[in-house]
Amino acid sequence: MGVLQLLISGLANGCVYGLIALGFVLIYKATEAVNFAQGDFMMLGAFVTLGLVNPEYMGIPFWVALPFVFLIMGVLGYLLDLIVLRAVFGQSQVAVIILTIAIGFIIRFVVGVIWGHEPQSLQSPLALGDVRLGSLVLGLADVAVIIVTLLMTVALWQFFQRTKIGLAMQAASQNQMAAYYMGIPVKRVQGMVWALAGIVAAVAGILYASKGSIDPTAGFIGIKAFAAAVIGGFGSLPGALMGGLIVGLIEPFAARYLPPGYSQIAPYALLIAVLLFRPHGLFAQVRAKKV
């Protein structure tokens, strides 16, 4: 494979990591909780889409099903916050972490029961096959994944900059107390951030499933996405995406240029290096409060 091919498939993987990492950071910034089920959310989003779209299940046309996927995943995210996470409000971080890990187990179990444990492929309009340009073989799905991620990033950016609720989400995550003072219903806004994280996870899941098959263990890439979020700087949305891209790129190049086996640990080696030398991450937004 040429360098260009490595680059594109690495970037495409990185986009999926980046979107999952985005989900981590969204929730962390809004609620200071780390949702370790974010990878499983991604997997669930893929299976919900598959269940609606694939001919062996409901067979609804993809573009008709898409709004329902977003709705289902958004509502699930919102309810998870409302019913489960608010029940442990005020408990230690560890309680929240263990709870979200448990939720991840439950999602894997439920998906396995409903759709089985065999790898399946989503009938995605992005699964476009390969195109051959001379000696170069380009995965069109990879290119599509990169484009969709770009569009998603722009859409999110606009959402946070231009909409009232987007601004309120930023406000509530920067200074929760002051958000209350402004009359922002902080709890509801946090629920909406969970809903948004559910939708972002659905997009990530659809992209993941467009590049290959999916099975209930796919959510484990959430661990790499978590590393990506830390590398990027856990409090920064652009950082999360960049961290995802970096991890995505490191893997294929390490596989190509390092002795066998090293590519598996390369992202974590980078994680440790970042934690040692730039503990706030590569793209941290840190601003001390003035007195």
Binding site: Q170, N175, A178, Y181, R287, K289
Partner: protein
Amino acid sequence: MTEKPLLQINNLETFYGPIMAIRGVSLEVHKGRVVTVLGANGAGKTTLLKTISGIMDPEKGEILFDGQPIQGLEPHKVVRAGIVHVPEGREVFPLLTVAENLSLGAYTRTDAAEIARDRDLVFSYFPILAERRAQEAGTLSGGQQQMLAIGRGLMLRPKIMLLDEPSLGLSPILTQEIFAILKRLNRDEGVTMMVVEQNAAVALDLADDGYVMELGRIVMSGTADKLAASDDIKSFYLGHSNEGARGERRWKRKKTWR
């Protein structure tokens, strides 16, 4: 004053766990007036404001706003009723711009044209905010952040503004400047205010009426002029005394309200 008070608090009690921070406070704020609550560190001033704005729930007592009970309501409902709390230590949104901070002050409003008009009003009172409108609030100076916090509060077009130690951490000159602006806001825009302060001199100069709080209780009240003339206030809050030769023994003096 026969008219009903805009804000009336009766026998309020607020706790932090077992600690009773507000011990039966009653006070009134009439429309168009400035009321100050003076008190030393730990007197319970911030707790009182937090209880009014719904951040904390009282154990006992009632808070009537425009005749309606509002105690125990969620903060966003209190804001919608027209009460804005400008918190101690500014509490701006550090990574958002000055303009975005101001627009969040109007979060509960929907009248875009009126909001724009009020932003111009805020800019006319605080020209520095207009100049820095695209700057991140976290990079403003402490005094500018205080101006932003007040301006952001005004953006609600509140019926009453609760200000928690607006002089905290400001130089005497800046304190004078901000209190002069508060005075103009009250006189020209008719903003009703409840100002919590340790700086009794500036607060009594601004206020029409005042209360003195100690250890969670109101220990003194009256018009600002009366309070400013009182010996206790002079020696314990205004920091100067008329004791002359007895000055070195001042630490022994008993406050008469105890």
